[in-house]
């Protein structure tokens, strides 16, 4: 919905390297090695996220507070398979490790995270990393899982082979992290004292043989040789994963389950989320009324209750539903199902010129386009990735829910179509979702057959083992999203409602229509009249350029300020003021328009140019205007 990601620049004091002293530590590892989990553990979640200057690669930096070393800086490098600059991520990793990245301090030590379930393959990254010659600690992550599944590795032999200390850890459980503390403390002292905690020290560092640099084949031979000599036995791949895949990727059951999962998510979000939101709304309204009674009847009460409370509360009621949607997407992603969904969707995505990997960001765009656009980083092909970024805001994000629900509840009768399960309201809501999806597919096809045309890009998708999502990671997700939403309600929406209240009460004692905001609205009214909108909706369209959900707060404040509708609820006030055509044109307008400054900012960041967000904004606005015009005119002419 909104500002999920602060794009503040990171200010890390750059101090000159002092021999033997560690100030900055780099975290290196292949994708899916559990690097991010470890980073969160080590920094205690106080991290700064930004982009490397001029690049589309994310930079995450934090202090090592998680292990009591707040004096040290930890840099999380992008997940890479090797240090040959074949991708933007790898180029960034190489530049940071060589201390050539402007604004990023040169690392004095390296933590190399490898997934011990796939050690033979992951060791290939150790060769170029050790070749850098920096103090390095090799961390065998998920070693608890490896041992539980019958995997074995001789860490002492591995440390001897690699010439650096090796430690077994579990980033998810936080086990074995003291080895990192020992490693950092030891390296900080000029004289070695022999104790190294869990880490197994190499007796003769610096005298190891590395393969020919830059040649994957020699890396592989080297890695295979080492895993044989260290008696590495890969764990038996989980029988469960195979059995579950037998059903979830079944020729017939697979697609059916896939559709059922998507449908179930929406069903639950609406059938459980709606009563939750309604209940929460009642609590908020009662609270407002009680506080209003305490204040008495004056302009302060009018500002606080009619203006601020109405505006902010009308947005806050959607918190339960939005969190529920994020919870489902989190479960699907953490369990490993989303990768399977991408595999199933690949065939369909291919027909519009995208690949299955684009499905994951598009599905999460149902919650919010901002994290979805960040998730497009898994798409290697730049043209595919840009096409996905450009169409993601068409997916019905949760910020559209407030205005959809408001208009549907106000204008669509609750007639059953298929018994109690599926009514007219649900049908309208579903068609809005389909409308956004179709617009996304059509636009993707248009882009891929014109400005983003490319030869078919490869589809390389790693299928992770299934695992149970942990309560910890799910609740972290929800807290994160909840905070973002509340921050939005507490800052942008609060500010908009206060400004609106004043503008609609100046000059004092004038009618709403004669106020500053009324005049502005009437000025733009001719442009939106053919869509069936009145000037109040026009003001809502202007304020919601910041974020879609703002329109509900705006309408709440405007109708609250109008004596004619003050005593009515927002739904009744809207019915009083709009036709069915105008109401449906409004939701269609919202289905297409790009009213979200956070999305515009993230597209600018991810494409590293203003060209793409500008194109996207103009395209979506024109489409929204034309579609709303068509809707209103069609309803005027064909529906009585």
């Amino acid at each position: 919905m909104s500002d999920c990601c602060s794009t503040a620049t990171i200010k890390v004091p750059i101090e000159p390297r002092v021999a033997g002293r560690i100030r900055t530590v780099a975290l290196v590892g292949p994708p899916n090695s559990g690097k991010s989990t470890l980073f969160n553990r080590l920094t205690g979640l106080r991290q700064k996220v930004a982009n490397y200057p001029g690049l589309t690669v994310e930079q995450r930096v934090g202090r090592l507070n998680g292990i009591g070393r707040g004096d040290l800086t930890l840099i999380d490098l992008p997940g890479v398979y090797g240090l040959d600059s074949y991708s933007e991520d790898a180029r960034v990793a190489v530049e940071v490790l060589h201390g050539e990245m402007p604004g990023t301090p040169a690392p004095d030590a390296i933590l190399l995270v490898l997934d011990s379930l796939q050690l033979r393959r992951q060791l290939m990254l150790a060769a170029p990393v050790l070749g850098l010659g920096l103090p390095t600690l090799v961390l065998l992550n998920m070693s608890d899982l490896m041992e539980a599944r019958g995997g074995v590795v001789d860490t002492l032999a591995l440390a001897q082979e690699l010439g650096v200390p090796v430690a077994k850890i579990s980033a998810t459980r936080g086990a074995g992290l003291d080895s990192i503390t020992h490693f950092l403390n030891r390296k900080a002292e000029p004289v070695r004292n022999g104790s190294s905690g869990n880490a197994i020290e190499a007796p003769t560092p610096g005298r190891i043989e590395l393969p020919v640099m830059g040649n994957p084949r020699s890396y592989r031979q080297w890695a295979t040789g080492i895993s044989t000599r260290t008696k590495y036995k890969a764990p038996i791949s989980s029988e469960w994963t195979k059995r579950i895949d037998g059903v979830l990727l079944h020729r017939i059951w697979g697609p059916l389950i896939f559709l059922a999962v998507v449908f179930a998510v929406f069903q639950v979000v609406f059938s459980i989320g709606q009563p939750l939101s309604d209940g929460f709304g009642d609590v908020l309204n009662e609270g407002g009324a009680k506080i209003g009674a305490l204040l008495g009847h004056n302009w302060v009460e009018s500002l606080l209750i009619d203006g601020v409370w109405r505006g902010v509360a009308s947005v806050l009621v959607f918190v339960p539903q939005i969190l529920l949607l994020f919870l489902f997407i989190g479960v699907l992603e953490d369990s490993g199902y989303l990768a399977r969904a991408a595999l199933i969707a690949d065939r369909v995505m291919r027909s519009i010129g995208l690949n299955g990997k684009a499905f994951i960001p598009l599905l999460s765009a149902y919650a919010c386009a901002v994290p979805a656009i960040m998730a497009t980083r898994t798409i290697e092909n730049k043209r595919d990735r840009f096409a996905t970024i450009l169409v993601a805001p068409f997916m019905t994000c949760s910020a559209r829910l407030p205005i959809y629900m408001l208009m549907i509840a106000a204008f669509i009768p609750n007639k059953p179509i298929l018994g109690d399960l599926f009514g007219l309201r649900a049908a309208v809501m579903l068609s809005l979702y389909v409308l956004g999806f179709v617009a996304a597919l059509a636009t993707a096809w248009l882009l891929k057959s014109s400005i983003l045309k490319a030869s078919s890009a490869p589809f390389i998708l790693e299928l992770p083992q299934y695992r149970l999502p942990t309560i910890r990671s799910l609740s972290l997700r929800l807290m994160d999203r909840g905070q973002v939403f509340l921050k939005q309600a507490g800052t942008v929406i609060l500010a908009v409602t206060i400004v609106l209240w004043f503008l609609s009460h100046i000059p004092f004692h004038a009618d709403l229509a004669q106020s500053v905001i009324g005049r502005l609205g009437q000025f733009i009214e001719p442009a939106i009249k053919p869509l069936g909108f009145n000037w109040k909706i026009g003001i809502g369209l202007l304020t919601s350029v910041m974020a879609r959900e703002v329109i509900v707060g705006t309408l709440g404040t405007l109708y609250g300020a109008d004596p004619a509708t003050q005593s009515l609820g927002l739904q009744a006030a809207l019915r009083h003021d709009l036709t069915l055509g105008g109401a449906m044109a409004l939701v269609v307008f919202f289905a297409f328009a790009l009213q979200c400054t956070s999305t515009i900012a993230i597209v600018r960041r991810e494409t590293n140019s203003w060209r793409w967000p500008a194109l996207q904004f103009v395209y979506m606005s024109v489409l929204a205007y034309l579609a709303a015009l068509g809707t209103n005119q069609a309803i005027l002419h064909f529906v009585r």
Partner: protein, 103 residues
Amino acid sequence: MVAIALLSDFGVEAADDFDLSGAWKLSLLSELPIGTTGVVESLELPGEIQHHLMHMGFVPEARVVVVRRAPAGDPTVYSIDGFEVALRRDTAQAIRVREYEIR
């Protein structure tokens, strides 16, 4: 399937234990049936993609098992070095493998 796995564990010499009318047959990864194992011979893909695949373990002499096809028949899931990766037919077509056939 079991025979093939054993065979590649012990090297080609172990073939004495099996029916000698079988032979190593050159093929494309995309042509291997489900459940069979192939040994990577060479890759012929554009530089960046080739590099990516090689770092994921698709290097000469690596053993690849064909695990299953996606419900639509494509992409196909392969198992390499104990993890699973899905490739489309047009990518798998560019990977030459040898396959042991028992007649």
